[in-house]
């Protein structure tokens, strides 16, 4: 999904419409009450339907079952390759075959792990368009599919708490089917094989598990590799002796980003130096230009368990190579962000000018010094980034009246030359002041946040900063100038100010960003910063911000007491903002976080697949059960441990929605301060 220029930090209508929409969008047609589908699901689950009744709203799996029979539904064509149901995992080969046969390469499905003995059905709640398909589903004997899974009974027993579940479905995009060692890293998220040792070990465990809790994975070789993902690859020795070893190290990385000019000059690569991988750069360039020569632009391909996505932007080729299971769309968003970072350094006219003058321009020189920014972005994507996945911003949770005071202070101290003024705390927006006719673009803010909170360059300087930068979402043709200073959130009240910048290691600092179009306005903005901080101190706002930062995000159980929910992402589409609970306590390690984000990526891919028309999507795996729920107003993704019941998850999802409605003006900035 591209960054939507129009929305940004625009205003929304608030809670009322949210409620309306919720019932509209998700209630099954026959259910007249103002109750969500999720609620209905629960009731059905309790009955353990003996007749045509579905518990899972996502569809893809069952439709592919049907196609096994003579009957073909009139609605979207489905994969006909039945064999893939019988295989525990996919081979890249089969995925290729299927991609050719289906007209919907974005959404393919894999076998469920929790089929019931009763009939398998599906039902379209979302709109009337699938009713014909419903009828046909009744005639489908599921025996074949059931037989395909020898271990169903065991799985069923294991997930005993889900007595009400009669079926489940997992859908994912073809780019996820990378097979091989990815399985052990991403496990069930990617549709790993059914009988791994880890699974056997897992099945002996009991009790309330957190998602991805299985210890067995930690010993896995590929897993350990992920902890080395960000290690630097050394330089090639003069005699080239270590080259092979370095190349192996290079190949073991799960994610690569390459940027090269259309003339084939390397511009940026995340891992390894140019000498080491010049051969690969050459190959990539040859492949891309081969297709370009045939006027058939190459968008992406899968090879050796990795998904290659190519984006061509004017004189630049950007390539993402991922074994982490993102789909093309998601990788494209990441490439887009890297391209924006380059524009942010050079501006578009400069970039095109350089290449139109000399197509063989070496862009490394003009970009010198920005590699850390590109790498910080790349690593954020490799670790998994909710803001990028959702193309949305996160705000610091502050009471509405407190935020109002901060906004007013910003407006009061505003100086003439100010364009945008922002207060940001550990990557979360606290307050923003902007001209009425300009909004702020999430993609621009992502670049700024990356520069300030992910890359270390600016903060390590320990002073105030004056940074020329282009914000491509705002205007990709020119520079703006940004004043930045940090206030430590851990400073005792009185000692505040520029002196408090010693603790450069702390990620939780509060940044004051004042952006102007005038390059001479440093001293004006600096003056504004001083009076701003002074006033915020005086009216107690600074203390409020600091304590909010120190408090961190609430945990899922703080938000919904006693919930089975371990984590969720809630995106408000109108505000282009999202909120989520703390990663604590379940997802503190790098790997656990990556697994969680991979699951979110898979859910996101499913509900955003072209023609999917999914509104609610359940995904049950042996590691977790999860739910995606999409309406025109919001997107909600939530995850619970593998032994949680789907009903409990659905209930919790409803509670989250209620919580967000209650807290909407605290967790989101609605409107912001405008002048």
């Amino acid at each position: 999904m591209g960054h939507d220029g129009e929305d940004s930090l625009a205003t929304s209508e608030g809670g009322e419409e949210l409620a309306n929409d919720r019932s509209k969008a998700t209630s099954p047609p026959r259910d007249g009450e103002d109750e969500s589908t999720i609620r209905v699901l629960k009731e059905e689950g309790a009955e353990t339907s003996s007749k045509v009744e579905s518990s899972t709203i996502s569809q893809a799996r069952f439709q592919s079952l049907e196609t096994e029979q003579e009957y073909r539904p009139p609605l979207p064509p489905r994969p006909t390759n039945v064999n893939l149901l019988r295989e525990g995992s996919y081979s890249p080969k089969s995925s290729l075959q299927r991609s050719r046969k289906t007209s919907r390469p974005q959404l393919l499905s894999t076998a469920t792990t929790a089929l019931s003995r009763t009939d398998i059905h599906t039902q379209s709640y979302q709109d009337g368009s699938r009713e014909t398909f419903d009828a046909s589903a009744q005639t489908t004997p599921p025996s074949k599919a059931t037989a395909a899974f020898g271990s169903i009974k065991r799985i069923k027993d294991l997930s005993g708490s889900e007595g009400g579940d009669s079926a489940s479905v997992k859908s994912y995009a073809p780019s996820l089917e990378t097979g091989g060692d990815v399985e052990s890293l991403l496990g069930e998220v990617l549709g790993a094989s059914q009988e791994s040792p880890a699974w056997r070990l897992h099945s002996t465990q009991n009790g309330a598990l957190n998602p991805f809790d299985s210890v067995a994975y930690e010993d896995d070789e590929a897993t350990v590799d992920f902890y080395r993902e960000f290690d630097e690859i050394g330089a090639v020795a003069a005699d080239g002796e270590n080259e092979e070893q370095l190349l192996n190290q290079w190949k073991s990385k799960r994610k690569h980003f390459l940027i090269l000019s259309s003339a084939g000059k390397p511009i940026y690569n995340r891992h390894g130096d140019d000498n080491l991988i010049s051969g690969y750069i050459g190959i990539i360039q040859t492949i891309i230009s081969f297709y370009e020569g045939a006027h058939d632009q190459l968008k992406g391909f899968t090879a050796a368990g990795a998904r290659f996505v190519v984006m061509s932007q004017g004189p630049l080729y950007l390539v993402a190579i991922s074994k982490l299971g993102e789909n093309d769309l998601q990788l494209r968003v990441q490439l887009e962000a890297l391209y924006m970072q380059i524009l942010s350094t050079l501006t578009l006219p400069n970039l095109t000018h350089m290449f139109s003058n000399r197509p063989s321009t070496d862009l490394r020189r003009p970009l010198q010094g920005t590699e850390p920014l590109l790498s910080a972005l790349a690593d954020t994507f490799t670790r998994g980034s909710p803001p990028t996945l959702l193309s949305a911003l996160e705000c610091l949770k502050v009471r509405k009246t407190h935020r109002q005071v901060i906004n007013d202070t910003l407006l009061r101290t505003r100086c003439e030359t100010l364009l945008y003024g922002l207060i940001v705390a550990s990557g979360r927006l606290v307050s923003v002041v902007r001209p009425r006719k300009h909004s702020l673009h999430p993609s621009d803010l992502q670049l700024i946040f990356n520069m300030l909170f992910e890359a270390r360059g600016v903060k390590a300087g320990g002073g105030e900063n004056w940074i020329p930068l282009c914000l491509p979402g705002f205007n990709k043709n020119g520079y703006l100038y940004m004043y930045v200073s940090f206030v430590s959130a851990y400073e005792s009240g009185g000692e505040e100010g520029r002196e408090g910048q010693n603790e450069t290691g702390k990620p939780d600092d509060i940044a004051i960003l004042l952006i102007s179009a005038n390059k001479e306005s440093f001293y004006d903005l600096r003056k504004m910063r001083d009076s701003l901080v002074e006033e915020l101190e005086a009216n107690g706002s600074m203390a409020i911000i600091k304590s909010a930062v120190r408090r961190g995000r609430p945990t899922a159980t703080d938000i919904v007491p006693g919930t089975v929910l371990r984590h969720f992402l809630y995106k408000s589409r109108a505000n282009v903002q999202f909120t989520m609970p703390s990663y604590e306590p379940s997802f503190t390690t790098l790997l656990a976080k990556r697994r969680l984000l991979s699951l979110y990526h898979a859910l996101h891919a499913s509900v955003h697949a072209k023609n999917a028309h999914l509104k609610v999507h359940h995904c049950i795996s042996r590691e977790s059960i999860s739910l995606a729920w999409v309406t025109p107003l919001f997107e909600l993704y939530c995850v619970a441990g593998p032994h949680a019941s789907r009903n409990a998850l659905a209930q919790s999802a409803n509670k989250v929605i209620q919580w967000v409605r209650r807290e909407e003006e605290r967790v989101f900035i609605i409107g912001g301060a405008v002048f």
Partner: protein, 218 residues
């Protein structure tokens, strides 16, 4: 760090504030010199400065004299070149840095000196700093520019000269102190530290009085 809260803040003490700009090729160690001077820290793996950083540091020359530097630490990359005038305009002093292990960095330094002498404040005090002397101490063959050559050039161009190491702190304090001693303190005006008690750094924006005091001392 300790110099910030000066002991010389008795009545009649002299306090002067000067604007200093650091220039030089990228990766010669400008930011590291500043970080050593201002915070007495060193960071082995430093990312490039983006744009420019603004820092302040106060040193006391003697019991009665305190000098506050407002330091512009600029980024060395070519693309920031057009912004440089904004930083050296009105600067009272400049530190032009090169890397003694990189021959080309002295050429760049020379062109900065030329530009400063042509474009900047007429009385600007320029210091030439050959940084990374620690590298040469360990491996003498790494040196690309001899002390004598650089010194001869500095004398010829009328510059202060030091070989420094931000890593070991060698000559860093000396460099800034030498600049402070050369600055025209008398005309810079007296400002009692008491006006600003306990707080080492003046939080107000640049005071035109002091700023101009240094600049118009012809």
């Amino acid at each position: 760090m300790s110099s910030r809260v000066s002991t010389g803040a008795r009545p009649g003490a002299r306090f002067a504030q000067f604007k200093l700009v650091l220039l030089g090729e990228s990766a010669v160690g400008k930011s590291s010199l500043v970080l050593r001077f201002v915070k007495d820290q060193f960071d082995d793996y430093r990312e490039s400065t983006i744009g420019a950083a603004f820092l302040t540091q106060t040193i006391s020359l003697d019991d009665a004299t305190t000098v506050k530097f407002e330091i512009w630490d600029t980024a060395g990359q070519e693309r920031y070149k057009s912004l440089a005038p904004m930083y050296y305009r009105n600067a009272n002093c400049a530190v032009v840095v090169y890397d003694i292990t990189q021959a080309s960095s002295l050429d760049k330094a020379k062109s900065w000196v030329k530009e400063l002498q042509r474009q900047a404040n007429e009385n600007i005090i320029i210091a030439l700093a050959g940084n990374k002397s620690d590298l040469v101490a360990e491996h003498p063959d790494k040196r690309a520019i001899t002390t004598a050559d650089a010194e001869a050039y500095a004398r010829e161009a009328g510059l202060l000269f030091f070989e420094t190491s931000a890593k070991t702190a060698e000559n860093v304090r000396e460099l800034f102190t030498a600049i402070a001693r050369k600055l025209p303190l008398e005309q810079a005006g007296n400002r009692g530290m008491r006006a600003n008690p306990r707080q080492g750094v003046d939080l107000r924006p640049e005071a035109p009085g002091t700023q101009g005091g240094g600049a118009c001392n012809c």
